[in-house]
């Protein structure tokens, strides 16, 4: 599936002396393994911090492709694409949360696009809180409370798997500390749905493997 959308390049750091591009990870500014990114045909990194799930990789490829397609149209003189370019830029992380918030009112977005942008803005805010909590700039309780307050204010993350997991998992803590039965139940429901899906996906994978094995015989 991913191979239809993008060229799949797997760089392996081997530490074999004299191997060309063995230090590509450092050249591209990454430090840890595994790192996933989207590059253009010149080898420039256009999106960092891509998740490791197939869904996250597919979504990142789509975001870059959509942005590139709009940029090409704009470059060829097509008008009226400002709002689309704005949404694509936010999806790609080319506009930070503050700038996106500021510009959100400028564009006449459809309800669906507005929801997408608001979700992405919230993802970035949540990332900021999470980083602060990790560096002890926020206590865990303060972090849980921020997630809980956001939930009560009707804010929701984007569809990204990572953001969904962060939001709903930490809402469990926030809702519990606030003694909010409804919020806790909502977080539990999400956790159950995710777990069910996870098992269903694994079951499907096992079935497919078994089917392929039978076909080989």
């Amino acid at each position: 599936m991913l191979g239809k959308k993008a060229v799949l390049f797997c760089h392996v750091t081997t530490r074999i002396d004299g191997r060309p591009d063995d230090d590509l990870l450092n050249q591209k500014g990454f430090r840890g393994f595994p790192s996933v990114a989207i590059m253009d045909a010149e080898g420039e990194i256009v999106k960092k911090g891509v998740g490791r799930s197939v869904a996250a990789m597919g979504s990142a490829i789509d975001a870059v492709s959509a942005y590139n397609a709009i940029k090409t149209k704009v470059a060829s003189g097509e008008k009226g694409l400002d709002a689309k370019l704005f949404v694509a830029s936010v999806r790609l992380g080319k506009i930070d949360a503050d700038e996106a918030k500021e510009k959100l009112g400028k564009y006449k977005l459809s309800a669906a696009n507005k929801k997408i942008v608001e979700g992405l803005i919230f993802d970035k805010e949540m990332d900021g809180w999470f980083s602060k909590a990790r560096s002890r700039g926020l206590t865990p309780q303060e972090f849980f409370a921020k997630i809980y307050d956001a939930y009560k204010a009707g804010r929701r993350p984007s569809d990204s798997e990572e953001s969904q997991n962060t939001f709903w998992n930490f809402l469990l803590q926030g809702a519990e500390e606030a003694g909010d039965v409804e919020a806790f139940q909502a977080a539990v429901d999400k956790a159950i749905a995710r777990t069910k899906k996870g098992f269903a996906d694994r079951l499907e994978a096992i079935k497919n493997k078994a089917k392929a094995k039978r076909a080989k015989k």
Binding site: L2, G3, K5, A6, V7, L8, F9, C10, H11, V12, T13, T14, R15, I16, D17, P20, D21, L24, L25, K28, F30, F33, P34, S35, V36, A37, I38, M39, D40, A41, E42, G43, I45, V46, V50, M57, A60, I61, V64, S65, N68
Partner: protein
């Protein structure tokens, strides 16, 4: 020994052992591990390539972006 030094010593020992493990590997062992990586099921069946120049060429030719997955094969 101060507490900080003790902590550094505790942290340093596993790191030193790890570094020794990597550097102690022969070129043949590193090559074997690399081959194992690029012949693994997910790599071959998933359609991945580790040829950087070829991937750039394909991306240009097919008008596609590149999904780059950085991993390693040298771990002891």
């Amino acid at each position: 020994m101060s507490l900080t030094l003790k902590r550094m010593a505790l942290l340093g020992l596993p790191l030193a052992l790890l570094a020794q493990g990597v550097s102690a590997q022969s070129p043949e062992q590193l090559q074997e591990k690399y081959q194992k990586k690029i012949t693994s099921d997910w790599f071959v069946k998933g359609g991945w390539s580790d040829d950087y120049a070829a991937c750039l060429g394909r991306a240009k030719k097919e008008g596609k972006v590149i999904l780059a997955y950085f991993t390693r094969s040298y771990s002891p």
